[in-house]
């Protein structure tokens, strides 16, 4: 069960745009027929900043993974620009809706190797790694070229998350799905991540959107203008077919 809280007039205006990502009554079942999420409906429009909140175990991560099509859903439908996503379009869809895990996964090698990674995939389709754009982002974070050469094994938790975030941003998605990206970070690293996301949104406010899972109410105020409040599925709903 979910409740969408749509708060401001500005957002009402944005809602007049057609949704780019639309979930209708999404449900995902575990192997033991236990519902992990059920009846989740959500419409994400360009320019929106959603926060996803709810008690532990209510399915926030499951929802984000399902929205990124990392996991199969068992009920409902998911539409991208009004159409269902065919099997062969899934990789290109994931290029537009990038999911960022709480634990950043980096490959062995330098920071630059990690940032180049998305451009070595078939979906890059000739688009190459933009060194200047990356340098510009790093300068905004107070980092220089030495950071690019740093080994991924030597990064702190905050630095690793920033690299993962930069890597996702430079793919140029329309939506970033942020699964508690700052949960394991200290205040400074949290601020750096929030600023980075904020700058990314402000660079193109009418084309980009975020969904940010957070337990922190003060962070919610800073990073979102829409709230999707999720609740745990009750025993009655579990059995309700």
């Amino acid at each position: 069960m979910t409740i969408a809280l749509n708060s401001s007039d500005e957002n009402d205006d944005r809602m007049s745009h057609p949704p780019i990502l639309q979930a209708d009554n999404l449900g995902r079942c575990a192997a033991d027929a236990h519902w992990l999420i059920r009846n989740v409906s959500l419409s994400v429009c360009r320019g929106q900043q959603w926060a996803v909140t709810g008690p532990t175990g209510c399915g926030k991560t499951v929802l984000l993974r399902t929205l990124a099509m990392l996991d199969q859903f068992d009920e409902g439908q998911l539409l991208w620009n009004g159409a269902e996503i065919s099997n062969e379009k899934v990789p290109s869809f994931r290029r537009s809706v990038v999911y960022l895990h709480q634990r950043p996964a980096l490959v062995s090698g330098s920071v630059e190797d990690n940032l180049r990674l998305p451009f070595q995939l078939a979906q890059a389709d000739g688009v190459s790694f933009d060194h200047d754009a990356v340098m510009q982002s790093l300068q905004q974070l107070g980092r220089d070229t030495a950071f690019l050469k740093k080994s991924s094994d030597d990064l702190s938790g905050g630095e690793a998350q920033i690299v993962a975030l930069l890597r996702a941003m430079h793919v140029d998605p329309a939506i970033l799905l942020l699964d508690e990206p700052t949960a394991a970070l200290d205040a400074n690293a949290t601020q750096a991540v929030e600023s980075l996301v904020s700058r990314w949104l402000n660079d193109s406010p009418t084309t980009r959107a975020t969904l940010w899972v957070t337990h922190d109410t003060s962070q919610l105020q800073r990073v979102a203008d829409q709230v999707l409040a999720m609740e745990s599925i009750s025993e009655t709903e579990q059995g309700d077919d």
Binding site: D71, P91, R94, H101
Partner: protein, 268 residues
């Protein structure tokens, strides 16, 4: 053949068994607790080899019909397919079928090539079992090792590097791009034993079949030629079997929506 093989009496076999007995005594003295397993393994060796000896003696008769030989080979392949999975730690739904398909496809294909292209049919037409059964046995024994090592490594890689696999998928990788590195590692692992054997054959070790031929009085050069052919057939069978098993496993664990179905993978 220079001479026919000299027969061994049961007393000769008993003498060889005394060496195992000595190992059992050492185990008892050092409290290694290996003696029971050694005894069981020795008894199984005697029983299994004697049994297969009688079975082969029946199959090697010139009047044995070809379909009886084919049935025996099919049974051997099925047992190898099952045995390959029994050694695997990481399991998923469909692993048994995948293993049996991989064993069947690789061993039958390689044996067919061996009996048509490598060893001319004129050589074996009068007694197909004498050539087909030992060849198939050698190929199966090595292929099943490659398959179990390959499938197990794939499961281990995918489970251990799930974050990396999913990270690639989140960045728009296809299922093949996300699984390519674990698949490569798995196939390489499955091929390690046979490649190692090929590296040292004749230098460090004399393979069992060649030793057997030499002891039976065969010309060393003929034995070597057979051994080269057998090593190549084994390597081809192992490579084909391992690749088939690993690729089939990949297709079970990654669906057409480019999703890694990690929930299907479990450790025994």
């Amino acid at each position: 053949m220079i001479d026919g093989p000299a027969d061994l009496s049961y007393l000769n076999i008993l003498a060889a068994a005394c060496l195992i007995l000595a190992n059992g005594l050492i185990s008892l003295a050092l409290q290694l607790k290996l003696e029971r397993r050694l005894a069981i393994a020795s008894l199984r060796t005697i029983m299994q080899l004697l049994a297969i000896g009688y079975v082969l003696a029946w199959f090697f008769r010139p009047q044995t019909p070809w379909f009886a030989v084919a049935l025996l080979m099919l049974l051997m392949s099925l047992i190898a397919g099952v045995a390959a999975v029994r050694r695997v730690e990481w399991r998923y739904v469909g692993i048994w079928l995948n293993s049996i398909v991989a064993v069947l496809a690789s061993s039958w294909l390689v044996t067919t090539v061996a009996l048509t292209v490598v060893i001319p049919p004129a050589v074996w037409t009068n007694n197909i079992a004498q050539y087909a059964v030992p060849l198939m046995g050698m190929i199966l024994g090595n292929t099943l090792t490659g398959i179990s090592l390959g499938i197990d490594r794939l499961g281990e890689e995918l489970a251990g590097k799930r974050d990396r696999v999913e990270m690639l998928l989140t960045l728009g990788a296809t299922r093949w791009e996300a699984a390519r590195e674990p698949v490569r590692q798995a196939v390489r692992t499955g091929m390690i034993p046979i490649i190692n054997s090929m590296m040292v054959v004749g230098v460090v070790s004399l393979p069992g079949i060649m030793t057997g031929q030499l002891l039976s009085g065969a010309d060393p050069l003929i034995a070597v030629k057979y051994q080269i052919v057998i090593m190549f057939l084994i390597a081809a069978g192992t490579a084909l079997g391992t690749m088939t098993a690993v690729l089939l496993s990949y297709l079970r664990l990654f669906n057409r929506r480019h999703q890694f179905q990690h929930g299907k993978l479990s450790r025994r």
